[in-house]
Point group: C2
Chain length 119, copies 2
């Protein structure tokens, strides 16, 4: 029952901030996996719900009431976020709990950070 | 010949960090426009090339050699970034110059910033 996570944040850790040097084609492809995971209104809301939930953790049962969507649909979107490394996942009893992975978001914001940009 | 920009960064300015409170459905839709603009390997590389270019500005002529793509294709991707508010645009002579808009990236990183997250 260990916490598992996807590969996204490791992919992001590879890359210097966009502003410092042009990102390579291969690295860009890795980052795009994470950006695509977030670039969906339901998934962005799910990410925000988990992040802002007590303990940075929520089960599907906590998340379902916020949407007029079926549990399989919500679970699919959570899987995409998990596969991109944005959420950890742990089964406890009958429910799967999802945990925000701040290090994955931090890797993304470091990459996109415009600090030092020519204003 | 004035610098023009899209609507993306204004859309982002609306929203509290994801970790502070759940983002609303309408706000999530606005943010997704910006995330989708970045969630493409060519556009992410273009954004990085413009950001890291001298003066945070580049013309299509500067960007074209980095890709094995036609100028119309590159111009289309630049338009998507512009429409999302990530790049400003100015015509000077025969070339269109694109300028990184750090405030748009800053709005995005503020939104995604996991500071205060339950680690």
């Amino acid at each position: 029952m260990s916490m598992s996570s996807g590969y996204g944040s490791d992919a992001l850790a590879c890359c210097a901030p966009l502003v410092r040097e042009p990102i390579g084609a291969e690295q860009a492809a890795s980052v795009v996996v994470v950006l695509k995971a977030l670039a969906d209104p339901v998934r962005l809301r799910l990410m925000s719900l988990v992040l802002s939930h007590e303990g940075g953790e929520a089960c599907v049962c906590d998340l379902l009431p916020a949407f007029e969507l079926s549990q399989p649909t919500i679970s699919h979107h959570l899987k995409v976020l998990h596969d991109a490394g944005l959420l950890g996942r742990e089964k406890r009893g009958v429910w799967v709990y999802y945990q925000a992975r701040p290090e994955a978001l931090r890797a993304l914001t470091t990459l996109l950070e415009p600090a030092g940009a020519h204003a």
